[in-house]
């Protein structure tokens, strides 16, 4: 029984790994090879602080007018994402920017995914409650029919240090949780006091739990 627990865990892991292989073999896109063909703008002013769960961002995007004709022939979908600015990536390996888009963790929050249209599009996004406190910009990826990235646009420049805005996350705390924690803690400590008093009384009675063995 016991040995098979770990054996089945490692088997499960192997199955999960193997089933993920198709994703590796499809070949990954490098961000540095993507042409910047989309123009994206977002409503927040530079340095503005938005509250998660309350404030909205209006994103507009369109094909860059100077792009040669036929650039967007393969574009089928546009994905808009909320991305971390470099200042929010410092000392946080889970938000690291990597050129290989399959491993890149810069843009982990999806704003929306829309079918592609050449004309001006816009979308109003309520900042979700699971967005952490950080500094952001908005990026749009153009995807082809195979869901592979073929172009992008973003609200900031190449160095990602202009036109950034901030989000202030919810705390997740509630007064009811604080009260519950306090009550159970008091219960815990008072139980201990109760145990000691009970033990003192037991000691006074000299209560044997098994027949005494004479010394």
């Amino acid at each position: 029984m016991a040995p098979t627990l770990t054996a089945s865990s490692s088997f499960l892991v192997a199955v999960v790994i193997l089933s993920a292989f198709p994703g590796f073999s499809s070949g990954s896109v490098l961000f540095s090879t993507l042409p910047r063909t989309l123009v994206v703008s977002a409503s927040p002013q530079p340095g503005q602080v938005l509250k998660a769960g309350e404030d909205k961002i209006t994103v507009t995007w369109s094909l860059n007018g100077t792009a040669p004709a036929g650039t967007d022939a393969s574009y089928k979908t546009v994905q808009l994402k909320l991305c971390y600015a470099p200042v929010s990536q410092v000392d946080r390996a889970w938000r690291k920017t990597k050129d290989d888009l399959a491993k890149d963790k810069t843009c982990t929050h999806l704003i929306t995914s829309r079918p592609y249209a050449a004309s001006n599009q816009s979308y109003e996004y309520l900042v979700q409650k699971d967005v952490p406190t950080a500094t952001y910009f908005v990026r749009a990826y153009a995807l082809d029919a195979n869901k592979v990235q073929v172009g992008f646009g973003q609200t900031t420049d190449k160095a990602k240090d202009t036109n950034l805005f901030e989000v202030e996350a919810i705390t997740g705390r509630h007064a009811s949780l604080d009260i519950a924690a306090s009550c159970f803690s008091a219960f815990s400590v008072l139980s201990l006091a109760g145990f000691f008093m009970a033990e003192k009384r037991r000691g006074k009675k000299g209560n044997p739990t098994t027949p005494a063995a004479n010394m």
Binding site: D130, G172, L192, R202, A212, A213
Partner: protein, 502 residues
């Protein structure tokens, strides 16, 4: 002064020795007092492990909620295992003086508030403080080992210690599976993610409080009763704290075991904290998979640590204490070699295989260590257990600081270096020597040293005149099995040797 009085026949569910300690270990029994104490002690220790390592699997959510950096997360990990360094020592002392039942239920009730207040954490500082405070609860390890050493005879003490310790450690693996599950259920029930993880922490906290109640009401300290009632009946004299402490601190064997335990258990704690991110970063598995692999490392404790304890007892039957020491050294050293290998293998499947082999040897070494600890001292058993246990945590802190903090070494280099350190720091076991039983490289003393000589040396003449040493005398007699079967001195001292002064 050397005789053992006959005890009147007392009814116990299991066969017992003259100390009323059980001589067999029946896993599926709940009979009081022995097996009941076993089950309650491992379950309460398990709950402490669940609480202490409840945060790691939820770190991806918590780090976003509290805006933590990698440094914050790493520091909190070190804090979670450093609190127990001194707590384990204090717990050992408390067990010697107040008994494991009160000592462990007190600690569990005092650390439960830290688990509850995780729901109110608001910053890196509060997160670190809470992980530090919860980590104190890992001192219940010491009360578990002390308790098993009080309830079980030398011939099965390795097994009892190993199973209780191993099944408690299981909590560290179990929590990696259960906390994400509890979080998902609460979130799917409608809570926002940043609130759901907070609510999730109430579950381990309440479980912890429940185990403290069970320990207090259903278990007792020793086969004959609780410390308090034993003291009242005059069977357990109140011991002096300075003497108990001095007895342990002046025994070099306790220091050696504290060091070597840092390189089996300390390594285990380190791996608990870093293995998920190692697999995630090196092999690009996703977080769920990394968590599953991390959990299987901890879950191996189900059989590997108990296996070490059982092996210690089995080896002791034929080879005595020398066998226990040789097996401990070999198993821990092999664990070190596997650790070096783990840092070197390049493929995911090889890595998982080596990790599982490494976990088995590393955890078995923990079980084997506590097959030796009960014999180092009888009077200061608690403090010796506490020193060894605390040494385990020191090993975890030192190893994480040296090899897994900041970006000096990659995870795989850190793991290889950790393996080399394991091999080096296990060598001192060669120096452990008991005059009555021998050591790895030396036979027992030619001067016919006995178990009584060793254990009675812990008591002064005045204390012996007052009869305080009687429990040690019984233990000395029961521990004669550590001579092994084939040794010429295997039978009782009377055969052809000079009679002992009475």
């Amino acid at each position: 002064m050397g005789t053992i009085e006959d005890d009147p026949p007392v009814k116990f569910a299991l066969p017992v020795d003259s100390d009323h300690k059980a001589t067999v270990f029946r896993l599926f029994s709940f009979d009081k007092p022995h097996m009941r104490a076993f089950h309650l002690s491992w379950i309460s220790f398990f709950s402490c492990f669940v609480s202490t390592f409840a945060a790691p699997p939820l770190i991806p959510i918590i780090r976003d909620n509290l805006n933590l950096t990698s440094t914050d997360v790493g520091n909190a990990g070190i804090a979670s295992v450093s609190g127990a360094v001194f707590a384990r020592l204090a717990m050992g002392t408390a067990c010697d003086l107040f008994g494991p039942r009160l000592a462990s239920s007190s600690l569990i009730l005092l650390t439960a508030p830290a688990v509850l207040f995780f729901s109110a954490a608001s910053s890196a500082a509060s997160f670190l403080t809470l992980r530090f405070l919860i980590g104190f609860s890992l001192a219940t390890f010491v009360s578990t080992q002390f308790w098993m050493s009080s309830m079980f005879s030398p011939s099965v003490v390795g097994t009892a210690n190993g199973v209780a310790g191993g099944w408690g450690n299981l909590g560290g693996g179990f929590t990696q599976l259960i906390m994400p599950l509890i979080y998902a259920v609460i979130r799917d029930a409608g809570a926002v993610s940043f609130t759901a993880w907070r609510i999730a922490f109430f579950i381990p906290a309440l479980f912890q409080i429940m185990t403290a109640y069970m320990v207090f009401f259903f278990a007792q300290d020793m086969p004959d009763g609780d410390f308090k009632s034993l003291k009242k009946r005059g069977e357990k004299p109140k011991d002096s704290l300075p003497s108990v402490l001095r007895g342990a601190m002046t025994n070099y064997r306790a220091w050696i075991l504290a060091l070597t335990y840092g390189y089996c258990f300390g390594v285990e704690l380190t791996v608990d904290n870093v293995i998920a991110q190692y697999f995630y970063d090196r092999f690009n598995v996703n977080l769920h998979t990394a968590g599953l692999i991390a959990a299987s490392f901890g879950m191996a404790n189900l059989f590997s640590r108990p296996g070490g304890g059982i092996l210690s007892d089995v080896v002791s039957r034929k080879f005595g204490m020398r066998g226990r020491l040789w097996t401990l050294w070999s198993v821990q050293t092999i664990g070190g070699v596997l650790c070096v290998l783990l840092g070197k293998v390049g493929s995911l499947s090889a890595s998982i295989t080596v990790m599982i082999a490494f976990s088995i040897f590393c955890q078995a070494a923990c079980g084997l260590t506590f097959g030796v600890v009960p014999f180092v001292s009888r009077r200061s058993l608690g403090v010796v257990s506490g020193m060894t246990g605390g040494g385990g945590n020191v090993g975890a802190v030192v190893t994480q600081l040296l090899f897994f903090h900041g970006s000096k070494y990659s995870s795989e280099t850190g793991i290889t270096l950790m393996g080399i350190m394991i091999i080096c720091c296990t060598l001192p076991i060669l120096l452990i020597y008991f005059p009555q039983w021998g050591g790895m490289l030396w036979a027992p003393s030619a001067k016919n040293a006995t178990e009584e000589d060793y254990y009675l040396s812990e008591w002064s003449v005045k204390e012996q005149e007052n009869g305080y040493h009687k429990a040690s005398l019984k233990f000395a007699d029961n521990s004669r099995s550590e001579r092994g079967k084939n040794s010429a001195r295997a039978t009782a001292p009377a055969q052809g040797e000079s009679p002992l002064p009475l």
